[in-house]
């Protein structure tokens, strides 16, 4: 279809507000970020930035604290993503197989998802505090330990609390997404498998999983991105302490920029995160496509 000048003006009119907002507040900062990452750019050199090519990237990659933060983020993602997918799928299958109050369960299991990160983090901080409810339960009720565990004062126990929160908060989203996917798997497949004498486990492996493969991929990509987005929970629960042991990539980036004034360093770090995520997304799609063919 050909459009005249008036139509072109109208298309422009529709595009303009979105292009302006997206361009100024998202695209421009991305380009600016890319630019900053090649300069020595900190509190000391605010007006006079020196081009240093890839030096910031080298500094980031050689930084011990970055490695800790990166490892924490990877571990967080590797543990929380499969855990929330597995539990979410299990809950979805249970809800899918009942006849009453399906919607009631769906709404109730979804509540942690709509609880804000700030609130959820503070509740977990309160429960896991050294003088908190969990320690009281462990020492005085079931007596598995005689001394309060200092959950928030060491690297892996602190990260564990953040990971438990991540899993707790993620189950509902997975449940809703998988519940919708399960309803697209044809029931006849299960019926004919039953006639062939297949057990529940075999049906799960050979019918359910292949039937929801697309959704598994979708969840995997979205949750991996989500895993790298972790920030508010560790910030509020441990504050990166002790030292910088429980820092994740985003909180470390934030710290270097706003507490240390190393903007060039932070820009390079941001780009490294973006590149890692882009590679992971492509890899995950490839992996799933290969399985398709196989």
């Amino acid at each position: 279809m050909k459009f005249n000048a008036k139509s072109r003006m109208q298309i422009l009119l529709l595009l303009l507000p979105g292009l302006l907002v997206f361009g100024i507040f998202t695209v421009y900062p991305i380009i600016r970020l890319f630019w900053m990452s090649f300069f020595k750019w900190d509190f000391g050199s605010f007006l006079d930035q020196e081009f240093i090519a890839l030096e910031n990237y080298r500094t980031v990659l050689a930084d011990e604290n970055f490695r800790i933060a990166f490892t924490n983020t990877i571990v967080y993602t590797l543990i929380t993503v499969p855990a929330q997918m597995a539990i979410g799928l299990l809950v979805a299958m249970l809800i899918n197989s009942i006849n009453h109050v399906k919607i009631g369960f769906r709404v109730a299991y979804y509540l942690p998802v709509i609880t804000s990160w700030v609130i959820a983090s503070l509740v977990f901080k309160y429960v896991f505090n050294t003088e908190g409810l969990l320690n009281y339960f462990l020492t005085n009720v079931i007596h598995v330990t005689s001394q309060n565990v200092r959950w928030l004062d060491s690297r892996w126990s602190g990260m564990t609390v953040a990971m438990l929160l991540g899993i707790w908060k993620g189950i509902g989203w997975n449940m809703v997404v998988f519940l919708a996917a399960l309803q697209t798997v044809p029931l006849e497949l299960y019926e004919s498998a039953s006639l062939d004498g297949a057990g529940s486990w075999q049906k799960f492996i050979h019918i359910t999983l292949p039937g929801i493969r697309g959704t598994i991929l979708f969840a995997l990509v979205m949750l991996t991105i989500g895993g790298f987005n972790v920030y508010t929970s560790t910030k509020l629960i441990t504050g990166g302490k002790p030292g910088h042991d429980t820092e994740v990539v985003l909180s470390w980036m934030y710290y270097k920029a706003f507490s240390n004034g190393k903007f060039g360093y932070s820009a390079a770090l941001s780009f490294i995160i973006a590149i890692v995520l882009a590679i992971l997304a492509v890899l995950q799609f490839r992996l799933m496509q290969n399985k398709d063919e196989g």
Binding site: N99, V107, I114, L122, S270, A278
Partner: protein, 279 residues
């Protein structure tokens, strides 16, 4: 009891047991907000307050403070404006991308996908610089345009899917009747993509309502804060954290979300599943 009834019973028991675990932190939050605001940590800690202890003093304190009422208002204003503005600009973008070939179309779509992959917080340094230049530090105008820009990619992507499902014949019939592009947009695309727009709007409300890192960076004036910043602001401000106040304010800030979520549940699920089944 038949075998089938028995297995149904087991499933209900499992679901309820799981639900108890899932709800425990929320119940503990509500119960703590109803306890007298004593020392830093009560000893022994109790999951439920004693009946005669139950008090609304934490809520009375919060509701008696002008600044928290102001924070509530800020959150409402920021979230509602973010929802309205992003619904308008995203549906216009989605309509154009779905229906017309214009120069830069694939570049625009590429940036939309790219920004869905990159965590928003990575852009915080240049965005802060921008907010300083625009003189919007410590103002809700330092939040709204950034939130709108932030939710545009996902909103556009989702609404585009809904627009593509509208039969093109409807557009063409309107053009035949002499309708312009704007008429098609307002009379065909918007009404038929409404479920999509509604579902992304709920997400956008949630996003703006609970956003923490950016608001925490841009706003440091007590009165200009949104709720998440006000809630986290209880830490470090007092020597002892007043957990009763923290959780009373938390419970209050969850109420609008619950209302939006429960009343729009239908759209919510539609939006979530549209993305996943396609993906």
């Amino acid at each position: 009891m038949s075998k089938r009834r028995l297995s149904q019973l087991v499933i209900y028991i499992l679901l309820i047991a799981g639900l108890v675990v899932v709800m425990m932190p929320m119940i503990y939050m509500v119960s703590t907000s109803l306890k007298p605001n004593g020392a830093l940590y009560e000893y022994p800690p109790r999951f439920f307050p004693k009946l005669r202890e139950i008090t609304l003093e934490n809520y009375a304190y919060i509701l008696g403070q002008k600044k928290f009422i102001g924070n509530f208002g800020n959150s409402i204003l920021v979230s509602v404006l973010t929802v309205i503005l992003s619904a308008i600009v995203s549906s216009a973008l989605a309509f154009c991308i779905a229906r017309f070939k214009f120069p830069g179309r694939s570049l625009l779509f590429g940036f939309i996908i790219l920004t869905m992959i990159i965590p928003g917080t990575t852009m915080i340094v240049p965005q802060y610089e921008l907010a300083v230049k625009l003189n919007t530090i410590n103002s809700i105008w330092g939040l709204i345009p950034f939130y709108v820009a932030w939710v545009i990619p996902y909103s556009t992507f989702m609404i585009k899917g809904f627009v593509e499902n509208i039969p093109k014949e409807l557009d063409e019939a309107t053009y035949m009747d002499g309708g312009s592009i704007l008429v098609v947009f307002f009379n065909v695309a918007i009404p038929l993509a409404k479920p999509g727009i509604a579902s992304v709007s709920i997400f956008n409300f949630l996003t703006a309502w609970e956003e923490f890192p950016w608001a925490n960076t841009v706003i440091n004036d007590d009165l200009k804060r949104t709720l998440p910043i006000a809630i986290s602001g209880f830490f470090g401000q007092h020597q002892f954290t007043q957990w009763g106040y923290v959780f009373a304010l938390s419970v209050l800030s969850l109420i609008p979300i619950l209302i939006v979520f429960i009343s729009c549940q239908r759209f919510f699920v539609q939006g979530l599943t549209a993305g996943s089944v396609k993906g």
